[in-house]
Amino acid sequence: MLLRKCGKSPAALAVVMLAVAATATGAGRASAATVLRIGMTAADIPRTLGQPDQGFEGNRFTGLTMYDALTMWDLSSAEKPSVVIPGLATEWKVDDSDKTKWIFKLRRGVKFHDGSPFNADAVVWNVDKVLKQDAPQFDPSQVGVTASRMPTLLSARKIDDLTVELTTKEPDSFLPINLTNLFMASPAKWQKFYDAASGADAKAKSQAAWDAFARDASGTGPWKMAGFTPRERLELVKNDDYWDKARIPHVDKLVLLPMPEANARTAALLSGQVDWVEAPAPDALPEIKQRGFKLYSNEEPHVWPWQFSRLPGSPWNDIRVRKAANLCVDREGLKDGLLAGLMVPATGTFEPGHPWRGNPTFQIKYDKAAAQKLMQEAGYGPNKHLAVKVQTSASGSGQMLPLPMNEYLQQALAECYFDVQIDVIEWNTLFTNWRRGAKDPTANGANAINVTYAAMDPFFAMVRFLQSSMAPPVSNNWGYINDPKFDALVKKARQTFDPAARDAALAELHAASVDDADFLYVAHDVAPRAMSPKVKGFVQPKSWFVDFSPVSIAP
């Protein structure tokens, strides 16, 4: 009928044809929604309620995607070190009269995914969720992964809608860096769940509200939660209203799939079931390349070390022994052989180019002759070997290939008159022993421990190992290093509030620790990932994190 009418009027026919064409184009656009599917190494979706679990993989996938923090990491470059940049706070400064107080100016016009405004009240609410035990939203399950990453933060106070004051236990210039770990969840959305929750008491209601929030989360990040099946998949869609227009995602949907088994991840990629996998099976790398998939890797702020015991009687108290061990390892051989190129040789916690590297005088490299000479000066030789014992695990997060790598060190160090005994224990047990220290019976006589660490911020990269007050049970100074020089340098770095001067103080601390050969520095992980050739625009920064926003996918 309509077509018959149109047939009589060419103009009407044209209008109808245009409408059909527009509908067809619209339909085409709808069906052409771009989806990026990623196979994660995690066995479960990291927690989605704001403070993810599962370490930095959690922050990578369910933290930085759906949420923002007051400060953020610059993830835009593969070459430059990743540094802290403004996030939901545009500027910050410490109070000149009281260095335990910081003023943070908040970004104007930011909204949570549920439409409620981000403001100073939201910041105070999010600090209280992990620090104020009598706050309704206080959640013990989020405390561990958060409070430990901002160890000096005490409280937050609203000054005005866009200004907030944060207070620390002691003057601490690291606070802006630590705050990258505190993600801002929507108080309004949580309150809605709390009001609707049933429970015997406020605590039960709060737990129910967080459980509901985790299934229907709301942050300010570039991705919004669209679907969640626990342990199976998380679907995120792009946030078109994201405050940073340059970081509005290029793909419409991001699907995150837990695949803990490396071969399963690799098969999923090769069969086209996913577009991107984290940590593909090392044995499959040549095949992945041969089939036209792309491999990415870059130096991560991660260190694979031996941490030495400095208790009385430890053989590592002799600096010549510590330096000899560092000079006796052919790291390039380890890289090219055992690890198929997937490591960066470590010459410290930070490599040249990093603002906290400094200028150590002790150059860590492979020099067997110099190592042997140092050992002979220390009283050892071909007929008098030094027995040392290292505790390690057979596997574990960030441990790379702990047993084969330790066996490689065992053989390498044997050439410099070390007799290395390896004590292999289960990963979680090793992790627990790490905080108990070298004095504890669980050390089982070991005078070195092999636990890898993330070096994203100064506290985790250096302070917890070098400051004497960080000895067990307080933190991870496993070997009981007690050197006034380090204590003074830590204090200086913590109390230097100009960012450039603070970085210089941290560089001084790092250089001193390398000169003191406080670790056997071996490798940095490189976070390998493989992708379909359809994936474009990916940049792998020198970080544990990546930015999914610029990634696009070809049809």
Partner: protein, 317 residues
Amino acid sequence: MLLYVTRRIVYVIPIVICVALVCFLLVHITPGDPLVAVLPADASQELANQLRAAYGFDRPLPVQFGLWLWRAVNGDLGNSIATGRPVLAEVIRAVGNTVTLAIAAAAIGFSLGLLFGLIAGYFRDTWVDKLATGFAIAGVSVPHYWLGMVLVIIFSVELNWLPAVGAGPGGSGAWSWDWEHFRYLILPAITTSVIPMGIVTRTVRALTGDILSQDFVEALRAKGLRELDVFKHVIKNAAPTALAVMGLQLGYMLGGSILIETVFSWPGSGLLLNSAIFQRDLPLLQGTILVLALFFVILNLLVDIAQAAIDPRIKRG
């Protein structure tokens, strides 16, 4: 019969309490910190103590066990430490997925096992027997996780016929029995079925051979029964033992396979256990083990009752 069933159910109660105690103790006596999932090693001691108290791990073990058992009896297995989600809901979802996989695998494994076993037993010592026995030996000998990987390489990576991992295009939550979802089940079900197929084949072959050599079979033949009717008697006599073996195998499959479910990222109880072990998530681990152990207990109970129903001699004993 009623008395027999009642007696068997009463026997189950002490078994369940022992199972609960063993699974509680097993996960608590292993070294390591139960809060490792939510407490990084770099956390302060003060924070560790605060969380230990918040989760109740500072209480004596008997108190922890008593509270856990009381809540479990009331249908509350607690909340996962790592995710904060209720353990019961996690376990029910995972067990549901494992049951789906187990039923599919049982359908394949038991039907092939019965077929091969009967044929091999009936044609004992012929090439048919050797062929069927060969299948059975291969089924129980081949490592199933290896077979799973090989099937994935052939049918997913090379031929691109079937998906390599997962439980449906939208996950198991959107599962339906159509081809789009069923194709996700094929490879894990075949992989899971090979061991029960082999075991059932061997059991049924041995039973069939034994029964065929008994006097009453000769008597039946002498009475002029057709071979098909004789064979029905053989099947009926073999059924109680075959049923017991299949029940046990079904129990194993319902328990989930950590290896197979991990290889195929199948979100069942095996993958859940794997995750709970690596995250040292004690409430989840305890809850999953308890539910799986109860599965075995209940399944054994049902098999006992079914055997008694089929063979009246059992309930008299």
